[in-house]
Amino acid sequence: MLLLPCPHCGPRPEIEFRCGGEAHIARPADPAAVDDAAWAAFLYLRTNPKGVHAERWLHAHGCQRWFNALRDTASDRILATYAMGEARPEPPPAPGGAPGTR
């Protein structure tokens, strides 16, 4: 079970949270203007990296607020959290080697 650092409540166990999947996937501003391929890309295509992943979390059984997190999907280590709407930060250098290289 992950220990997730909620920016509002501090570290809490994963069962209090709901993962909202990959972050920074913007809905096309004018859906009627994009073709099927672009719409499918918005709906379905995901980065799914082995390494640093930007994702959304909801502290459902806590403050009930959303936040973004950077997590290394190879080690499951949380590298940073930041507010919804903020740009993705650079991950801090991980102790003992670059993230995602394990």
């Binding site: 992950l2 799914n48 994702e55 999907t73 080690s75």
Partner: protein
Amino acid sequence: MPQSCNNPGLAKRVGRRLRREAGRIRRSYSVGTLVLHALAGHRRWHRQWRAAEPKGSYDAVIVGGGGHGLATAYYLARRHHMRNIAVLEKGWIGGGNTGRNTTIVRSNYLQDESAAIYEHALKLWEGLSQELGYNVMLSQRGVMMLAHNQHDVHSLKRHVYANRLNGIDNEWLTPAEAKAFCPPLDISTSARHPVLGAALQRRGGVARHDAVAWGYACAADALGVDIVEGCEVMGFRRDAGGAVAGVETSRGFIATPRVGVVAAGHTSVVMARAGLRLPLESFPLQALVSEPVKPVFPCVVMSNTVHAYISQSDKGELVIGAGTDQYVSYSQQGGLHIATHTLEAICELFPQFSRLKMLRSWGGIVDVTPDRSPIIGTTPVPGLFVNCGWGTGGFKATPGSGDVFAHTIVAGRPHPIAAPFSLDRFRTGRLIDEAAAAAVAH
């Protein structure tokens, strides 16, 4: 020191006999060879397949040496006579999801497209040991899916009727009939999750998952396929027209006009090296086994509502499957609360197992598509084919998946059974919704 060495003369004679027969018995596993090898101290078993060195070029390269990849290579060689091909495996054969699943085989899927491919696979399963000359220990002991509420009853009956229309065996059982088929089942009306009935596919069952990988590897190897372990694909080389010209690997460049990617949980990683994004997310999926006990469980039981599936292996362990974690991960380990949730469900259904100790638990990385159906077919890159997205239910499809994918690679266009599972369905919207692919809620 092995006991047989107490008699050096005998050991020497047996050793000579084994060497003489090495070519012939190489892939033969009979009582006779077992006795001979036991007398020789089990030091003369042969490799089951060559430790192939990668050549400079092949007619086709399969990326991923799991069950699906090996099956693809085998059918390419057997049915399409492509012998100059290689399977590139990053780790070792049988080290990925092929050796991490709960070994369940069935074909009672709801949608016509799914029924077609899983039934195609089940028919191949039924002759697989004979075809490969390798015992995959298919045991058609029956797969029973429990209904605990009215919605389950409606849903499972719909499955039964849809399956029958597709010529697939599936039948509805009353609680008493379910109890007769699976005596450990508690059908008391006071149960927390009462059993209102069950859908039974008698042709469903289990198979020995390692043997499936090994059997396909042996059979493909015997046909001349190079199985290269410890060889990771790092990139793709394209020609002037954009088509695949070869793969860059951790063991050098390999030229090939056709590449089939069958990398399961790591498909997104491999395809990103070809510059493609896929509708996939990779999640850890856990399973666990109990300490071995005497035969107590005659079939496979699945319950969507309480979220559990269970069977007993030939070694006596109860094999129990859990759900996926909620986040993308490649760590091959899931949260303990996921396994706990599953064990609670098992103990609710089968209170008599509550005192069993769990022996091992593990995780595999499953690639899940938005509609929970696989992707088999061509990609925007000419010469690059993909077979992925089997999610939590790929093992049962192994032979069928390999067969239709081999056809797809040879023909350059999808096999009729594979055609609905195109990558393009996410653009056209013709999704194949199998959200219950593992028969448990996701």
